[in-house]
Amino acid sequence: MSKKVLIVDDDPEFVETSEIILRAHGYETLSANNGDEAFKILKSEIPDIILLDIMMKTKGEGLWVSEKLKADKNFRGIPILMITAVNQDADMSKFHIDPSIDQEYLPVDGFLQKPIEPDELVQEIERIIGDKVS
């Protein structure tokens, strides 16, 4: 059975191109424009991984969503791949988090910085989920 990826990002082109790439690699995709939409989807669908943009309409929304997910026993097992548009260090220091020190405490399983090469996206998801789909 194909694995399910939930993409949470307010950038419609990023969402659509990521869906095209992931479907071509055998994944099923779901998408949400923001954290609230993501939680609505999670009421009926449990994905195998969540791609989560850190900066949506509200700054740092991705962090809020990831913390809320990890605090919920129903969702804490879903791996999160955080997507950043600027760079990981800049994004994190903006929220007073130093990835070199605090990474193990961050409520995510991986980071990718935009722009993301298609292969890089697929490989990182495979690394986190732990097995190949197609």
Binding site: E13, K57, P115
Partner: protein, 295 residues
């Protein structure tokens, strides 16, 4: 004055001299205390001033860091999307699906146009902030500013199921300004009114003369702005939490640019808003008087 000499055995005279010295000393000490008090006061003022300057410097440094961060994000996000679009097409993910390829390329074009517009706006903003923007002021009639916008705004309003009402004073005297910059201001304010109205709503645009000013009002009955957000609305990149719409259309530079343009025209912009009731933007621009020169 030279002190009087005393005879060696004239104790009264010596006592008198001592009394005078003592009195002089007391008065000197008292003056010294006054001077010290003044120094203390001015050092207190200087300390407060230093502390204010320090806070302002810290604030400005933070604002600069935030600005760099925001601008990097605002530019990198669309560039990354265009890059993704090119990747999926070049890497053959959409082979045989020409329709989708064209659709994505058109969207890439819109994103690139957004990036160029943002860069143009940033350049203009920085020139206005630095005061290096040469504004070519001429006498402009209200119709010169608003008439070219009517068709474009009516179309945008129709697309969003909003109606527009125009109430422009006849025979109002011209204002003094640069047409392209003022067009930018009103295009921004009116399109914001449309964007943040609820479907079926109305946006009223009014221009009237009051004293030696021309007053422009743009009133919508839409989502409004929360009270705590109003002081921030002219900040670069600020967007209200409830501001809807496509991030590509409103990158938040609009109102800060509008404010700077109005300032450069010696005008005043005022925003009144109630959350979920609507927003009224009032712009006062001085009317043209003969003999005025460029600023």
């Amino acid at each position: 004055m030279k002190a009087k000499k005393c005879e060696v055995k004239d104790s009264e005279c010596h006592l008198e001299r001592i009394r005078r010295w003592h009195s002089d000393l007391e008065s000197n000490i008292s003056s010294l205390i006054d001077v010290l008090k003044e120094i203390k006061e001015s050092s207190k003022v200087a300390t407060i001033e230093c502390s204010d300057y320090y806070s302002k410097t810290v604030e400005l440094t933070q604002a600069k860091t935030t600005f760099t961060f925001e601008i990097s994000h605002e530019l990198k996000a669309p560039i990354a999307s265009v890059y993704n679009i090119l990747n999926v097409i070049i890497d053959g993910y959409l082979e045989g699906n020409r329709e989708k390829q064209i659709d994505l390329l058109k969207r890439a074009r819109v994103r690139i146009r957004g990036i160029v517009k943002l860069l143009d706006d940033l350049l203009l903003l920085s020139q206005l902030v630095e005061g290096t923007k040469k504004i070519k002021m001429t006498a402009i009639d209200i119709e010169d500013i608003l008439t070219p916008l009517i068709d474009r705004m009516e179309e945008y309003a129709r697309e969003n199921n909003i109606s527009l009402s125009w109430n422009l004073a006849n025979n109002a005297p011209p204002i003094f300004g640069q047409l392209e910059l003022l067009e930018m201001v009103f295009s921004n304010i009116i399109s914001n009114g449309i964007k943040y109205s609820n479907p079926g709503g109305i946006v009223e645009v009014e221009a009237k003369r009051e004293d030696s000013y021309i007053i422009f009002l743009v009133r919508d009955h839409g989502i409004g702005i929360k009270r705590e957000e109003i002081p921030k609305i002219f900040d670069v990149f600020f967007r209200g939490k409830y501001a809807r719409g496509d991030t590509r259309e409103g990158m938040g530079l609009g109102l800060s640019l509008v404010k700077k343009i109005i300032d450069a025209h010696h005008g005043i912009i005022n925003i009144k808003s109630k959350f979920n009731k609507g927003t009224t933007v009032t712009i006062r621009l001085p009317e043209y008087k003969k003999g005025r020169k460029n600023v």
